[in-house]
């Protein structure tokens, strides 16, 4: 993050408010969100700092942060915010913007995981865990994590070797196509 951050205009806060549908500008920095955040210790920016940087228009600082990808979407911040800002929803909007703008330094693993998960849903209508995890591992290079858990999971029937397709898989593919189109509408 740069040492001195000066106000860069309202474009960022306007866009984040439009995309998330929540009043980010109402944040008065009480830090209640950061205090209750389960992943605060791992974050490079606390959630209240993300809100402030959005006010200031510091787009790169926010979109290149690890914090937006570390958010576990647990909704504690959204539930407790005294100004009723949907802070977890703001994190979603920022993740989507980071991917659209190919922001540097954004933690790639969460985005790769999301892509692998949704790829599986698009194909089968449901998540096929083994296929999804293989795709994630190949794309992220994180090949060995959790491999030791597979044999027991297989033995207990907790992971399958073949996908369980939904009968509506074709419908899901069409929904994906149209949802992507919808997001491109002005």
């Amino acid at each position: 993050m740069s040492d001195a951050i000066t106000w860069k205009g309202p474009a960022l806060v306007d866009e984040v408010e439009r995309r998330s549908g929540t009043p980010v500008s109402a944040c008065f920095q009480c830090h209640k969100c950061s205090t209750g955040c389960p992943v605060g210790p791992e974050m490079d920016l606390l959630s209240s700092q993300v809100m402030r940087l959005v006010h200031l228009g510091a787009e790169a600082d926010v979109l290149e942060s690890r914090a937006i990808w570390l958010c576990a979407s647990c909704e504690a911040c959204t539930t407790r915010c005294p100004m009723e800002i949907d802070i977890a929803g703001v994190m979603d909007a920022l993740r989507i913007m980071a991917v659209e703008r190919q922001a540097d330094g954004a933690d790639a693993r969460a985005e790769i995981f999301n892509r692998s998960f949704l790829g599986s849903v698009r194909r089968h209508g449901r998540v096929f865990e083994l296929g999804m995890m293989t795709a994630y591992k190949l794309r992220s290079g994180d090949l060995l994590a959790d491999v030791g858990k597979f044999p027991a999971m297989l033995a207990k029937g907790k992971i399958g070797l073949l996908p369980k397709r939904s009968g509506a898989a074709a419908q899901v593919r069409e929904v994906f196509r149209r949802a992507e189109e919808e997001e491109k509408r002005p």
């Binding site: 791992e42 570390l70 969460a110 995981f113 209508g125 995890m133 907790k158 899901v172 929904v175």
Partner: protein, 290 residues
Amino acid sequence: MKYAFFPGCSLETTAWDFAQSARAVCAALGVELEDIPDWVCCGSTPAHASNASLATALPVVNLQKARAMGHPVVTACASCYARLRTANHRLRADAAECDRMERVTGARYDGDVEVLHVLDLLVNRLGIAAIRAQIKRPLSGLRVACYYGCLLSRPPEIVAFDDPEHPACMDDLVAAAGAEPVAWPYKTECCGASLAMTEPAAVSRLGHRLLSMARLAGAACVVVACPLCQMNLDLRQRDATAAHGELPPTPVLYVTQLLGLALGIPAEELGLGALTVRADGLFAGMKVEG
């Protein structure tokens, strides 16, 4: 009582024991669950973190299928539950969003199909008194930490069947089953399950924090109502203790498994053998086969 059941992806695979025990408990209590035909994935966190239209459209596809069945929807996964309820919430408030979803899914839906979590069904539709009357093998002396996690009670304007900071419905259910729910402070702290693949260090820290607090509060086991919490605290328990310090192995059961045992359902019909940390020891000395 008949409901349209939305199993969701986890309940078909990693949480088949939750599905089996939820179905067995509902059957024992006279609740009929009929699966939504050709249900599809709710999209979970990857959808809402990637594409806002998709995050609403996938639940809507399922809710449209459920509407044709004419029953309220019941689901057991906390994430599916939150996604289905969130979609309804968005559509009820916003005609433009209904138009958008009609373009994406090809059919009109205005958010009117009721969605319940199985806990809500048990505690608020059937009622604690009616369940207590059916208990055949009270789990006397078993001390239990009821863990609600994040999405069963948050955010309250969307889910709202219990208090968002101090939920009690699972404690009431566990007490009705004759066990003893312990008071502990981390009932609604997130376990970080959505980060399990991508941020294992954070997930180990969070899991260890929860399990060690449950032990400190005197619990012999943890009871959950979410497939992601269960997998995180059970399958990844050894990772957590290896990274942050040894703890006695702590079984993490689905609330429907615990309740099922108390209702007299045999352990093998509740999928207890699928737990990573075995629960057999909990029921030694009770007239319950663990």
